[in-house]
Amino acid sequence: MKLSGEKIMPILVQHRQIVLPGQLLAEGKDVEVKAQHTIYRIGDKYYSSVIGLTDVQNGKRLSVIALEGFYFPKIDDIVVGMIIDTGLTSWTVDIRSPYLAILHASDVLSKPFNPLKDNLRKHLDIGDLVLAKIIQFDRTRSPVLTVKGKGLGKITKGVIVEIIPSRVPRVIGRKGSMINMVKDETKCQITIGLNGRIWIIGPTPTHEEVAILAIKKIERETHISGLTDRVKAFIREELKKRGLAK
């Protein structure tokens, strides 16, 4: 019941609260909602459409980060793809999204490509992994990848960990705080594919192992606060156990 004159709080949830589909999040006109598929609106009521974590800024900016879910392609995203088929002039790449991506031969090879003389499998075979960028995607066409760019191309060393794609933002952290901490502590090079595949290159396999454990811990405890400090302590402990730190 609302009494007249009483101040109505437009946002009905707290910061970092777990919400469920159909849950009323906010009411009224002075709510700023980031346009995304995790929130929908009926009249001036905002509801959550997924299981997610809320993010409330300054008491009026609201967004929901999904806790479960798949990767949905976006132009300029860096992803780790796996070659699943070769055609005459292109590869089909699995990027863990509802759509299979395409990587054109002309993009990978520098000289003109003649399908009569050359076989694409010589360059990238089924099962190979590539770090690629999405250059083209809309509702009517499948995503197109490119490997032209700094650091992009075939992955030849290191390890890949898969996590739930919707938890990638938490692994990165605010302005990269989480991932930079993991990189510093484990001394590994870590590249995050936004589709939930993470590429790790460490000085030794033991360092890589610790980095994997840390990332899996972040994935599992996404919704519990104080994560960065906990992960930091965890990495130091694990390194010590393995005799890599004092």
Binding site: I18, L20, T38, V50, I51, F70, F72, R139, T140, I224
Partner: protein, 244 residues
């Protein structure tokens, strides 16, 4: 042969299994029970046991089924051969095909299918043990599995069947009440929005009885909705912080 009429409501107003007319059967719900599915759930209402698995959104095969402006939804409601007291042939029956259709239509009104053009969302519902109310339990399991798969939807679905037995309206009927009762009305709703997504009626109810039944269903649905929310929350609450 003369049939003895089964007494479904006794002189104290209690039902054949000892429940009050407005009492649900014991409920158990769990999500993420299957590893290989994108989302899954298990729902138990009394002796009715249902398992649901969701895959997708993913590429459509065969390709010609693809729709350019939205995802297609494919639903299979199926009863395993050992779910009933006499073996049920595993081939889909006329009844199962119809239930797959009404469940699909209920789910279509909940999922934002227009977000994922040219894909499919596949929902599999397996009835492991049947004791009436399998479509309502199946619908709840499916909606929990969809939420678990992270597919955007308007609301969870909570559903219950109302029956009329010995002239009394009762909540959440079991097999005996379904067989010997006068009417059976399954109702499914999006509880937060107050919208009905499925309503069927088998048998005869007067207009007053119909509204009475609807009210009774809403009461049961409110309780089931709480169980659903608890089941989803449980997955996150149970994750314990590993202290080092």
């Amino acid at each position: 042969m003369k049939h003895e009429k089964v007494k479904l409501v006794d002189e104290n107003g209690l039902r054949i299994d000892g429940r009050k007319p407005d009492q649900l059967r014991p409920v158990k719900m769990e999500v993420s029970v299957l590893k290989n599915a994108d989302g899954s759930a298990y729902v138990e209402q009394g002796n009715t046991r249902v398992l649901a698995a969701v895959y997708g959104p993913r590429e459509v095969h065969p390709k010609h089924l693809t729709l350019p402006d939205r995802a297609i939804l494919r639903t299979r409601y199926h009863m395993v051969p050992y779910s009933t007291d006499e073996r049920k042939s595993p081939a889909p029956t006329r009844r199962e095909i119809e239930l797959s259709k009404v469940i699909r239509e209920a789910l279509e009104s909940v999922i934002f299918v227009e977000l994922y053009p040219r894909t499919t969302i596949d929902v599999f519902i397996e009835v492991i043990q049947a004791d009436a109310g399998t479509r309502t339990a199946g619908l709840m399991a499916a909606s929990l599995a969809l939420a678990d798969a992270g597919i955007p939807m308007k609301d969870l679905i909570a559903a219950v069947a109302i029956g009329k037995v010995d002239g009394t309206l009762v909540l959440d009927i079991n097999q005996v009440e379904d067989e010997y009762g006068e009417a059976d009305m399954p109702i499914a709703m999006m509880p937060s929005l107050g919208e009905i997504v499925l309503l069927q009626l088998n048998g005869v109810l007067s207009e007053e009885e119909f509204y009475e039944a609807l009210k009774l269903a809403q009461k049961g649905i409110a309780q089931l909705y709480e169980f659903e929310k608890q089941a989803l929350m449980k997955k996150y609450v149970e994750v314990k912080v590993e202290e080092v």
